[in-house]
Symmetry: C2
DNA sequence: ACCTATTATTGACGAATCGTCACTGACGGA
DNA sequence: TCCGTCAGTGACGATTCGTCAATAATAGGT
């Protein structure tokens, strides 16, 4: 009267295996090249078993997306540990975002896909909740720094903005920049001459300067800071970048110079 | 020896009809609810004829997206005609973006979908070029104002940024904000309390203040400006908003107050 | 009026892929 | 040894995409 055991542990391991295999297929053949039969054939489980983990192909994609958000949250947390000013730590988090998008481009693009109703509508309730949790956690790592900087007096909350809005302005700006530039920028004439790293830090510096978040960009050497961050807390990520042959390309115009100092 | 006529004019009209019908299906049943057989049955043409216009379902979606970009470009142009300072005109263009996203949410979301490789990879070369052209045109309407403001002395180009980068910083920021908030914000806990219009103008004001683009946000009444724009150049759009029952919701914290004035 | 060359249109069909479900098999008690 | 339960299986039905051989439409030539 006691049937087979269902080991929570190995169940989770299997889900991980499925997600990893699916991602490797995507990396080889693109998102369009992934289908459930192909995944089935790449894995020692049957289709039915796969559908025990994910109730649709879309759910599987969202699952990959969740993994990515966890990676990203870890990177953000690590960025928050940098021993520097709050502004420098915010910059570190944006660098983390950039590194994530460059190191895991497929994961980042998947986030965009998941935003589209087509995908999201067909995602299981469980995983939707997971995304929410992860998003909250992610924004939380930013909020921590915002709070500290307000307490410090590094900047004063604008009259019509609260802490969450400040964190969101930062997030949406970096998201927009990376999203628009993470496709192959060469193929699009109007984006030619724009470099993802360069524009990201430009925009973020503008936002932070606009907030009056000290020290202003005119008072620090952003390019040097980024190099420092790369060699102090993102060592592993820098190596991964190099082994992928990706150049951060911040040598060009890297930061916005605040030259109006009114 | 003379076959049937292929009237360029009516061909274009038919394409328009197909695009409109497809969009209306999407509005009724969501993007997932659109399929080629359904479109065929809603239209007095056969599937083969539809495939003469669009070489895949994805191509059709991109086509709808292009229509939207044309609408958006027109709105941006109209915004550029506002008789005010360059900063006010930039604000007008961002308002145009917001109006577009609110009035044509499906079209805006489609832009996001088209960014994902799945869709874009399966789009015809012809339409990819169309998107590029439209993007260039769109960014051009922003560049015009940037150039004028530089000539005016309304702001000075930061040392490490060129005109294109300034225009792009504006574009990517508004894109990011709208993209992250145009889904139903209520369903996501971490975005609760954020209003799309509010955050958009917050972020843009931060960017423009960061650039030192005069007059600074502390020197103007952004909320009043928006009301003025709505009643002077976006009259039709305001009426459309009202008839859709959408509240712009700028009554809440509408703009960033620049209260650090160092 | 009729024929013909050319092109537009059609919709039935093949191919691909999704997701299900009736069956199989494995396991641990009785 | 038998039985009850549940995880796993993969063939199958259903859906939807995109094609293509057949058909219809047209206008000039005779």
């Amino acid at each position: 009267m006691s049937p087979r055991i269902l080991d929570e542990e190995s169940l989770h391991a299997r889900e991980l295996e499925l997600l990893d295999t699916a991602l490797s297929i995507i990396e080889k053949e693109g998102v369009a090249g992934l289908n459930m039969d192909k995944l089935t054939s790449c894995v020692p489980y049957s289709k039915g078993t796969i559908y025990n983990h994910f109730n649709s192909k879309e759910d599987l994609l969202t699952g990959i997306c969740c993994q990515g958000m966890r990676i990203l949250t870890d990177l953000f947390s690590k960025a928050g540990t940098f021993a520097g000013s709050t502004r420098e730590r915010i910059m570190a988090q944006n660098l983390a975002y950039l590194l994530y998008a460059l190191l895991y481009p497929n994961r980042f693009l998947l986030v965009i896909s998941v935003m589209s109703p087509t995908l999201f509508e067909r995602t299981s309730e469980r995983r939707r909740e997971e995304i929410q949790t992860l998003e909250t956690e992610l924004l939380g790592t930013v909020l921590t720094i915002v709070d500290e900087s307000i307490a410090n007096g590094d900047f004063t909350l604008p009259v019509h903005m609260n802490r969450k809005q400040v964190a969101f302005a930062n997030w949406s700006t970096s998201f927009g920049t990376i999203a628009l530039l993470s496709n192959d920028t060469e193929s699009c004439e109007c984006r030619r001459g724009l470099s993802i790293g360069c524009e990201l830090f430009n925009s973020i510096n503008l936002i932070l300067d606009g907030l009056g978040w000290k020290p202003l960009s005119s008072e620090i050497d952003s390019a040097a800071l980024i190099q420092q961050l790369l060699s102090e807390i993102f060592i592993k990520e820098r190596l991964m970048l190099e082994s992928k042959g990706i150049n951060l390309d911040l040598s060009a115009p890297a930061v916005a110079e605040k030259n109006h100092s009114k």
